[in-house]
Amino acid sequence: MSVSVALLGAMAVLYACGVYLLLEKSVTRIILGILLIGNATNLLLLALAGPPGAPPIAGSGPSSDPLPQALILTAIVITFAVSAFLMALVYRSWRIAQEDRLERDEADVAVGQGDQPETEAAAADEESEFDRPGGTG
């Protein structure tokens, strides 16, 4: 069985970069790593499918094996769904981190309890509210 060296090289690079990114701390990079590893595995399936050939239905001469390509399509769909979910997860954890920072900002809470009724603008515009003289603590 002959295998394209270019395909194997691309696969190896993708695997290497993917594993490197997977071991990072940031979840965003981990997602990128998972995507790279997923694609490397798809290339692996393609490389293992045997020699390239004509389309299996219409072509003449030796045709290529259609089954691994069907497997790759399924794998792509699954990776797509999972990475969409992971991105939603990252967004959620980013929002939780943001909420935490606002909640723990004591000056902000104090201003909210002061003479000024709390509004969206007052909560977001921390600096000016904090500096304003007469804001009771």
């Binding site: 692996l44 399936l45 293992l48 089954l67 691994p68 699954i78 999972v82 959620r92 939780i96 935490d100």
Partner: protein, 516 residues
């Protein structure tokens, strides 16, 4: 009868679609989910009865002749596990319905997706059990994993997101490894049909065989939480909501064990890697139970005993004999039921007392004797006290191990006995401290819990909420199911023995699927 096989997967998927459409009407959603799972339970019982004589139900999906299309196969093992998991899924569904009603969060967004996702998870579990095709097994795994990603992060609180991220990344790595293994097996044998692979692997060079075998075992080992690959489980399971933890603990790891069992008996029936499996089983048992002893939180403690008991199942598989396989099958059935029950009871304790940290619990028996019974019976069952099914399963495993007459298996039998005794310690400690100790002595502490540290990363108390009748009833039903396994252990063990004998004789499977 064969025509009924695909319904096992179709009904939950269809139910999930209908439940999603009915997301504005929670009562209709719950009815749909309950009906779908009850129907699968009925199908499971019918299929178990149909294959009890040793026949196999083979369904070529889409009418393609067998080695070319996807094939669904039901033999004794698949039918038995299908029935038990349908029963467990139904009981946990009733529990979660009770919890949802009690908390009054019927109309919140996460709950409207809970039941559809739960049904998709069920479909994935069932699909994995009846897959006769390695790639279909991969798809079954993916179906159940993707829905488990959603269930483990339901609610989207910070601890769940953090635990969920670990779980998802680890699962994805194992799935990728599994996919690569499927590709490599296809390249080596030219097929993904399990029966055909079984026929063709024997002629491969030995090195290639071992490589493919190890790739599959590593992928399944992560899913089954076998020792060096089990670190993710105790960190991710306890943070989810109680019914989700219960169903994950009962079923998801067992699907991994089922896949290992198929790999060892059908795909690679040779004994080359059996010593490795035995050593890994031994380490899993010991490390799991030692972890359990160090936990102050009941849910974390139970997660570690779960890992420890996976070791027993792997030991049965690793023996490579009909007796070992039979004991592993019986023990799997017992463990699915008992571990789920204990996690449900932990959920009840959490609601009743507001915490699952044993250093803060006390006087539960006086407060609720029923809860005491719901904890003590499955705990003794898990610990392997006679005459419960846990004892019978362990006895079968130890006998099968001793019958192998090999120095390594004698060591494994010794470790299994030690682990069984050690398992009692954390379980009985929970009983002594949380149930027997009077509530007013909690502040004084106890000699039993002096060495334990509370988990600093999770809130220790959550406020008490009412127990509802469906929650208690479903937990009681699970306890009763555990006792029923004890009472009917004779016929069940006979069934497991027949299944084990057939599995060890892999040409029977090949003949059943390919018809030659």
């Amino acid at each position: 009868m064969t025509a009924l096989v695909p319904l096992v997967v179709i009904l939950p998927i269809l139910g999930a679609a209908l439940a999603l459409l009915a997301s504005a009407r929670p009562r209709l959603q719950r009815t749909i989910a309950a009906v779908a799972l009850t129907a699968v339970l009925g199908l499971g019982i019918a299929l178990t009865a149909a294959v009890a004589d040793g026949s196999m139900l083979v369904m070529p999906v889409g009418g393609w002749p067998v080695p070319f299309g996807i094939v669904l196969v039901v033999d004794r093992l698949s039918a038995l596990l299908l029935t038990v998991s349908a029963a467990v899924l139904l009981a946990v569904l009733v529990f979660s319905i009770g919890q949802g009603i009690a908390d009054g969060d019927d109309r919140e967004a996460p709950v409207s997706i809970f039941y559809p996702t739960y049904l998709v998870l069920a479909a994935g579990v069932f699909d994995a059990f009846i897959a006769g095709d390695l790639f279909n097994l991969y798809v079954g795994f993916e179906i159940l994993l993707v829905s488990s990603y959603v269930l483990i992060t339901v609610g989207g609180t910070e601890p769940r997101i953090r635990a969920g991220t670990t779980y998802i990344v680890v699962s994805l790595v194992s799935s990728t490894l599994f996919l690569a293994a499927v590709g490599a097996i296809y390249a080596a044998t030219g097929t993904v049909n399990m029966a055909q692979i079984a026929q063709r692997v024997a002629v491969l060079p030995e090195g290639v065989q071992v490589l493919l075998h190890v790739m599959l075992l590593t992928a399944f080992g992560i899913k089954a939480a076998v020792f060096p690959l089990s670190f993710w489980l105790p960190d991710s399971y306890p943070t989810a909501i109680a019914p989700v933890t219960a169903v994950f603990a009962g079923l998801l790891t067992k699907v991994g064990v089922y896949a290992i069992l198929r790999t060892e008996t059908t795909l690679f029936p040779g004994p080359e890697l059996n010593p490795l499996l035995l050593v890994v089983a031994m380490l899993t048992m010991l490390v799991g139970v030692l972890g359990a002893i160090a936990q102050a939180d009941i849910k974390r403690m139970l997660s570690f005993t779960l890992v420890s008991h996976i070791g027993y199942l792997i030991m049965g598989v690793g023996l490579g004999t009909a007796a070992g396989t039979a004991a592993a099958i019986f023990y799997t059935v017992h463990h699915i039921v008992v571990q789920t029950t204990l996690f449900l009871t932990a959920g009840l304790i959490e609601r009743r007392a507001g915490t699952t940290t044993i250093t803060r619990l006390g006087g539960l028996l006086a407060a609720s004797p029923a809860l005491g019974a719901l904890y003590l019976l499955p705990a003794l069952n898990l610990g392997g006290i006679p005459p419960f099914s846990g004892f019978l399963g362990k006895l079968g495993l130890l006998e099968a191990g001793a019958a192998a007459r090999d120095p390594l298996t004698y060591v494994v039998v010794g470790v299994a006995t030690l682990t069984s005794l050690l398992t009692l310690y954390p379980l009985v400690r929970v009983w002594n401290v949380s149930f027997w100790r009077p509530a007013k002595q909690v502040a004084e502490g106890s000699r039993l819990t002096d060495e334990l540290h509370e988990d600093p990363f999770r809130p220790q108390t959550t406020g008490t909420r009412a127990l509802t009748r469906p929650m208690v009833a479903s937990t009681a039903g699970m306890v009763a199911l555990g006792l029923a396994i004890t009472v009917f252990a004779g016929p069940l063990y006979g069934y497991a023995e027949q299944a084990g004998t057939t599995l060890q004789d892999w040409p029977v499977y090949v003949q059943g699927v390919l018809g030659r």
